[in-house]
């Protein structure tokens, strides 16, 4: 794992703050919706295979169907949990520090002076659960911090905006 095995490098302390635990159910709802759609597509493919006679063996079709449903269920249940476990963030005076990912774990560092603007975003599921997403924009694309509690996200955005209000020579 990424965790400090060789001790912290100066200027590269591990980010510590986890996301709001309510992010897990929120992501389960959104992942579940996508998984339902995936299962529907999978069923449609299986029906076509059956109708065209490419696969006429019913037990095999049922096995394929169950495989799809199991995969969707596992992804919906464990995916958000694993991602939440990997998510860490920190807003330091000079840098924004993020760690995220499910299989591939990515550490992202953005100097505060490079931030051009900050968005506060709330989807319908997030609003219901009292969550929000912060989007940090730079001249080279944007990065998100999802699953923050809405009460916390407001001050975080204000803090980034205040810290970033420095002359930038892009």
């Amino acid at each position: 794992m990424i965790d400090a095995s060789a001790g912290p490098i100066p200027g590269l302390e591990q980010p510590l703050r986890p996301l709001d635990p309510k992010a897990v159910p929120a992501w389960r709802i959104t992942t579940g919706a996508a998984a339902l759609f995936g299962v529907a597509v999978w069923v449609a493919i299986l029906i076509v295979l059956h109708q065209t006679g490419a696969v006429s063996n019913l037990p095999i079709l049922i096995a394929f169907f169950l495989f799809g449903v199991t995969l969707a269920a596992l992804t919906t249940w464990y995916g958000p949990r694993v991602e939440w476990n990997h998510w860490r963030y920190d807003i330091r005076d000079d840098e924004i520090d993020l760690q995220s990912g499910m299989f591939t774990i990515t550490r992202t560092l953005i100097p505060i002076t490079r931030v051009q603007h900050v968005d506060f975003r709330q989807g319908p599921v997030e609003r219901r659960l009292g969550l929000a997403t912060i989007v940090v924009h730079t001249a080279a694309g944007s990065r998100e911090i999802p699953g923050l509690s809405a009460t916390e996200a407001g001050p975080i955005r204000t803090r980034i905006a205040a810290l970033a209000n420095i002359h930038d020579d892009l």
């Binding site: 794992m1 990424i2 060789a6 490098i9 100066p10 200027g11 590269l12 000079d94 840098e95 990912g101 299989f103 591939t104 774990i105 990515t106 550490r107 992202t108 560092l109 953005i110 100097p111 505060i112 002076t113 490079r114 730079t138 001249a139 080279a140 694309g141 990065r143 020579d169 892009l170």
Partner: protein, 505 residues
């Protein structure tokens, strides 16, 4: 440097109309786009005598000139109070303003007609994909005045960062000097080694369209392309002819766009001139250059040639150079590169002793080679499966792909061997990487916008990671990637590029 008195900005340019030459060049371009209509009119009145024909031509011509004159009346541009603005439009007024400190590049384009009329088109670009301001016609003298005004207004803006300028440009040239001029031979060689796939595809598509659209049906039936009688010799001859044509076109394209390519260094900016028919001039402030990259194409590297590109956040004029990069030196000998960069952009040069790049650990080699073998195996199986499905061919014909595996593996190995990076005490960052072409990116640590270090489960097992550094450039060329470097090295580089660990500027 800090003691230099701030020059008073010249008064600028009050609200002005573009050069009236625009009416003629714009009218001509409308005539060009309605040429079919003109021919149709002439054709329909061809029996009515010369007076009627002239009249039939003249009326739409005058209408177009009248329309362009009215449009011209409504156009105004100005350069005042640290901003350039352009207003256009008759019914719907449209005014755009660009602050001088936001300007990324000033480009002029001189078409053959414009040269006769003494006007060129001037484009002022800002960062990002936003449309630039285009002054459609401006005389050479006026363009020069505008550029001087921009330079003067900007040095007022940059004045407060004098220390930064001092730090970044230790040996800044005092006045404008011509650094490099491409010879005719170089233009020819550049076209010859430009890479074959893109022009070959373009040729094939064009030839096919030509064949299906223009050639009459009867003639096409006489062309002896009968799949049953196609001999290997005729296939080879056809491919050779297509390749020769692609090469010819590539050379012609290079001649048109790179003719008389000249690089000029002014105190604060680079001025690039090029083109045979359409002459282009790019003025790029040095402080806006995010990085340069030395690209050694597969066809050029063995002969010791390379090209040098400039990466900036401005969209280049026209679409001939994709991805926000411009040629700084389109075709140079490798041994001349350092000397030329030293003269044109000392901010991005390196020491005579070369660059001491950190390399990847030996255990990263398999991470480069295994995906190659895996993808090749998948490709082989799919090919054989498709062949076994087809009539008249055997599945084992697919095995003829096997001799390609060593070539593929060699590329994988070269990608491993060529990857490397270095960050010197001057905050200069060098990253070498290879896809097919080998490229060396030179930038400044403080130019890096976002840094990312990622590791998938396979990499974690070998304590490796992939580092991505993003620069503020258009398109993907500003993305610097080092795949499968030692994870500790990656963290070290992340930390060295942290604002926390760099001395305040």
């Amino acid at each position: 440097m800090a003691d230099t008195p701030v020059e008073l900005a010249p008064p600028g340019i009050p609200s002005t109309r573009p050069h009236p030459g625009w009416i003629i060049s714009a009218a001509l371009s409308s005539v060009r786009s309605f040429i079919a209509a003109f021919i149709a009119i002439a054709f329909s009145v061809r029996d009515q005598g010369i007076i009627v024909i002239t009249f039939a031509m003249l009326v739409p011509g005058l209408l177009i000139i009248g329309w362009r004159s009215i449009q011209w009346q409504a156009m105004r541009y100005s350069a005042q109070d640290g901003a350039i603005s352009l207003s256009t439009g008759l019914l719907e007024k449209n005014e755009r303003t660009i602050q001088v400190e936001r300007i990324q590049s000033v480009d002029t384009l001189e078409t053959p007609i414009g040269r006769i009329l003494g006007v060129s088109e001037l484009q002022i670009a800002t960062a990002g994909a936003a449309q630039p301001i285009t002054i459609p016609a401006i005389s050479a003298g006026e363009a020069e005045r505008l550029r001087e005004w921009i330079d003067a207004s900007r040095s007022g803006v940059d004045g407060r960062s004098a220390d930064l300028k001092q730090a970044e440009r230790p040996n800044e040239p005092a006045h404008s000097t011509v650094v490099h001029q491409m010879s005719g031979t170089d233009v020819l060689l550049a076209g010859l080694t430009a890479g074959l796939i893109a022009p070959a595809l373009a040729i094939a598509a064009a030839a096919w369209r030509l064949g299906s659209d223009i050639l009459p049906e009867s003639l096409r039936q006489r062309v002896p392309i009968d799949p049953d009688r196609l001999t290997p010799a005729s296939v080879v001859a056809l491919i050779a002819a297509a390749a020769a044509m692609a090469w010819g076109l590539s050379i012609a394209g290079a001649a048109l766009s790179l003719w008389n390519f000249t690089v000029q260094r002014a105190p604060d900016s680079l001025i690039l001139n090029r083109g045979l028919l359409d002459r282009k001039q790019n003025t790029i402030p040095v402080s806006r250059i995010q990085a340069i990259s030395v690209v050694e194409g597969v066809l050029r590297q063995p002969f010791g040639f390379a090209s040098v590109m400039i990466e900036s956040a401005a969209k280049p004029h026209g679409d001939d150079e994709s991805g926000g990069a411009r040629h700084l030196f389109p075709f140079v000998r490798k041994r001349d590169i350092l000397r030329l960069i030293e003269a044109a952009l000392p901010e991005f040069s390196w020491s005579d002793a070369g660059i001491d790049l950190h390399r990847l650990p030996a255990r990263a080699r398999s991470r480069y080679l295994i995906p190659v073998i895996r993808d090749f195996a998948i490709g082989l199986v799919v090919t054989c499966a498709v062949l076994s499905w087809l009539p008249r061919v055997e599945w084992w014909y697919g095995l003829f792909l096997l001799p390609l595996l060593p070539v593929w593996l060699a590329f994988g190995y070269l990608q491993f061997r060529d990857a490397g990076w270095s960050l010197d005490s001057n905050d200069r960052l060098f990253v070498q990487q290879r896809s097919f072409d080998r490229s060396l990116v030179v930038t400044r640590g403080r130019r890096v916008q976002v840094r990312e270090l990622s590791s998938n489960p396979m990499q974690r097992r070998a304590h490796l990671g992939s580092l991505t550094l993003l620069l503020a450039t258009i398109g993907g060329r500003g993305t610097i990637t080092i795949n499968h470097l030692d994870h500790d090295d990656g963290e070290q580089l992340l930390a060295s590029l942290s604002p926390h660990n760099r001395p305040p500027i």
